[in-house]
């Protein structure tokens, strides 16, 4: 049992569930407290002690299913089938086995049956299970990587089990029984049964290797999916994938907020405010009962976001808008704009609608701009400078999301310079790599001198790194 739990723990770890040493010890202690044999309790105990993140619960449940039941059930099925097929031919398995054991008892001399042969004859499934596990461990089944190796590892495990030897022993036994005067019909039935059992054993081993393959691949697939989402370029995301990213994005936004709040609190308490304290403690005859500290001005960050929604970056902006939406839920002082050539505010849309509707609306111009034009950053910045400059002050971070492909229009970088003089800082996240900046109709090079930070932001990984950089 202990071994199985440790093995299961390793499996969980491989699948990305973090289980510490202390936690597996907890699991053992927990199992000591519970009655054995109740599967639900067993599963509950392992889950409570080993799985500490709600996202990991499905993984745990699936692996639990795979590990603790599938194999044993398959083994039992295989042996049940063997028994049934015998009874289909007119033999009652129970009586037959009874007679055989009786026959063995009457045999002269000491029988030297191997463990495996004994287990097969007595259909000791739990013993068989353990033996298969051990043999598979020695055969290195845990290294299995793909379907093609199934046959190979099944064979190796069978060799490790020495199933052929056990078969030979059993056949010899049948021969001995025949010589000792057992009726031919019974001996023939026994011989057939032996073959059936060996076949069932092979099936059992095969199902074990299959299960192992599933387990080993389980985490692989999962990890692959997760990693690929992180690394995948925004350009190639499908709509569905973007929706799945929502949770990740939400967490990113939350993290920004957390970090900011820590910084805010550190600054909160200032020096002793002598003036106010004296004034407030007049009532106590000037004895300072109440202490008053100067409160430092809370540095509530303000955000102004400009998001390009032209068709060249449609998918990117879909994702970015999601990010903007999450940000807007975390911050109160935030204004969001979308632009192609015209520029319009969507703060209210984002506040009122739910996320999907809001994003669709924003991509459609949010009723404020025409999206079926060619993008013109210069015009958009100019428009912002003319109409919304009051939204920017010395506490504002001005965030631009776009590829700076300006369709050979005038970049009007001076607008950005003007905005920068008012803003705390200007940050540009560009989905294109820096090597492409300034080539073709990209005017990124014109804007670069006017901004504080420009980052390539093509996938989630980069985005989270940028966030760390920005807020810390």
């Amino acid at each position: 049992m202990q071994k199985k739990i440790i093995e299961f723990t390793n499996l969980l770890r491989k699948s990305g569930v973090r289980v510490s040493m202390a936690e597996s010890i907890d699991a053992f202690q927990a199992l000591d407290e519970l009655p054995l044999g109740d599967r639900e309790l067993f599963q509950g105990a392992l889950r409570a002690t080993m799985v500490k993140r709600s996202e990991d619960i499905p993984t745990f449940d699936q692996l639990f299913e795979l590990y603790w039941s599938a194999f044993y059930d398959n083994l039992r099925d295989a042996f049940d089938q063997a028994g049934e097929s015998m009874s289909g031919e007119g033999f009652d398995l129970e009586t037959l086995l009874g007679q055989i054991l009786e026959g063995i008892g009457s045999l002269e001399g000491d029988l030297d049956l191997s463990e495996l042969a004994k287990a097969l004859l007595t259909q000791d499934l739990s013993q068989l299970e353990q033996m298969i596990r051990d043999a598979a461990g020695q055969a290195g089944v845990q290294r299995i990587e793909n379907m093609l190796q199934l046959g190979f590892f099944t064979r190796r495990t069978m060799e490790q089990l020495n199933s052929e030897g056990a078969g030979r022993e059993l056949r010899d036994l049948a021969q001995q029984l025949r010589e000792s005067g057992m009726p031919d019909a019974q001996v023939d039935a026994l011989l057939e049964l032996i073959e059936k059992f060996l076949e069932a054993l092979r099936k059992g081993v095969r199902s074990y290797t299959e299960r192992e393959l599933q387990q080993q691949n389980f985490d692989y697939m999962e990890k692959f999916r997760r990693e690929s989402l992180l690394e995948k370029s925004f350009y190639n995301l499908t709509e569905d994938e973007i929706k799945r990213m929502r949770e990740v994005v939400n967490r990113l936004a939350q993290r920004i907020k957390n970090v900011l709040s820590i910084r805010k609190r550190r600054q909160k308490r200032g020096k002793l405010d002598l003036h106010t304290m004296l004034r407030r403690n007049m009532a106590h005859g000037g004895v300072p009962f109440e202490m008053v500290f100067k409160e430092r001005r809370k540095d509530r960050p303000k955000l102004v976001i400009l998001c390009d929604v032209s068709s060249s970056v449609a998918n990117v902006s879909r994702f970015m808008l999601q990010f903007v939406y999450s940000l807007q839920e975390c911050f109160t002082k935030i204004r969001s704009f979308v632009f192609v050539a015209e520029l319009g505010e969507v703060t209210q849309v984002f506040r009122d609608e739910d996320i999907n509707a809001a994003i669709e609306k924003a991509l459609d111009g949010g009723d404020v701009i025409n999206v079926y034009t060619r993008s013109n950053f210069g015009q958009a910045f100019h428009y912002f400078w003319r109409n919304y400059l009051s939204a920017v002050d010395h506490r504002t971070t001005f965030l631009i999301l776009g590829d700076a492909r300006n369709n050979y229009n005038d970049p009007r970088a001076w607008c950005l310079r003007e905005i920068r003089t008012k803003a705390k800082n200007v940050v540009w996240l560009n989905p294109e790599s820096p090597s492409a900046w300034g080539f073709g109709d990209s005017v990124m090079d014109k804007y670069l001198p006017q901004i504080d930070a420009a980052e390539e932001c093509r996938n989630l990984k980069q985005l989270s790194r940028i966030i760390d950089k920005l807020v810390l």
Binding site: R18, A22, A48, K52, R53, Q254, N258, E290, M291, E353
Partner: protein
């Protein structure tokens, strides 16, 4: 103390808390192993309630620490009662004069004052906050640390220290160790992921929305006098509502509110108009309400179809896998 998992289930039920085996298992293990439980799950599924009923079922005193942004040691553990100390010094002025009477030098006087240090830095002037109260309590206690995800990471680290050996050191007084180790329940809404170190020390329990059957049962026990059929219908609508993509998914608390509201309105059956009028009881966002109104027809028509079916054949037992962790 509980005797077995079934015992937990039973005794919580006596307190009016319907729970599945999963919850019972974790509670039982926590009491046996003396480990804190970290309860997670969406808002309103009864995380806090669980701690309360466990306290009631075991006859322990509930001490609650509500976490929020900016909660610090002074609010959670102890604080010196500054104004009381001052007040005492004012009142005891003459006594001080007596003590000082023989002192000839400044140094001597200071030494005498120092001798009396312990008078002012003693238990008398400590305001015990929930954590210290739980540690000092004479009787058995259950410490509920509510919404621990709202607290700051630094506080979490501090909490870790307290939870690991249930003793705190007050520099002026010394180390105070717990007389009785309290049961500890921490609840979290997952606003922030808790540190691994904290999670490692706790048993983890995830409470999800209950399935249909369990929810009807909860409704029955919490809102006595509700018509069985109305309860069924109501829970059916709730379950379907939860499948919509809402900003705030309605929880059990909302189900109960709604049931009580309908009871007051003397409703015996749900129809479109009634649901439409009372949606604001269960949904808290304008957008959500609008969305649900759009789906209203579907929510109800599907139900009437079901009703037509049930008229012919008895309803199939809900074969859904239990989602009640």
């Amino acid at each position: 103390m509980f005797e077995s998992v079934e015992d937990v289930e039973l005794r919580l039920r006596e307190q009016g808390y319907i729970c599945g085996k999963n919850i019972a298992t974790v509670v039982y293990l926590a009491t046996q192993l003396g480990k804190p439980v970290l309860v997670e799950g969406p808002a309103g599924v009864g995380k806090t309630e669980l701690a309360k009923v466990v306290a009631a079922a075991t006859g322990r005193n509930l001490i609650r620490l509500q976490c929020y942004e900016g909660l610090d040691e002074a609010k959670a553990l102890y604080e010196w009662e500054y104004s009381k100390q001052l007040l005492y010094t004012q009142i005891l002025k003459e006594k001080f004069a007596e003590t000082m009477a023989g002192a000839t030098t400044l140094r001597d006087a200071a030494a005498r004052v120092a001798q009396e240090d312990s008078v002012f830095f003693s238990d008398r002037f400590i305001v015990a906050r929930p954590l210290l109260r739980a540690i000092q309590a004479e009787e058995l206690t259950l410490l509920l640390i509510d919404e621990v995800d709202k607290s700051d990471p630094e506080f979490e680290a501090f909490l870790l220290e307290v939870l690991s050996d249930f003793q705190v050191t007050v520099p002026e007084v010394g180390t105070l160790a717990a007389r009785n180790i309290p049961f500890v329940f921490l609840t979290s809404n997952d606003a922030r992921e808790m540190s691994d170190a904290l999670k490692r020390r706790c048993l983890h329990l995830y409470i999800d929305f209950p399935d249909e059957k369990a929810e009807v049962e909860i409704l029955d026990s919490k809102v006595p006098g509700i018509d069985q059929r109305l309860a069924q219908e109501l829970v059916g609508v709730m379950q379907r509502l939860r499948k919509l993509d809402l900003k705030k998914t309605p929880s059990i608390a909302e189900t109960l509110d709604w049931a009580r509201a309908l009871l007051v309105l003397n409703a015996s059956e749900l129809d479109e108009a009634l649901v439409g009028e009372t949606l604001n009881v269960i949904l808290k966002y304008e957008g959500d309400i609008r969305k649900a109104e759009g789906e209203l027809g579907r929510l109800i028509t599907r139900k009437t179809e079901e009703k037509a079916e049930t008229a012919k054949t008895p309803p199939p037992p809900p074969a859904k896998k239990s989602v009640l962790h």
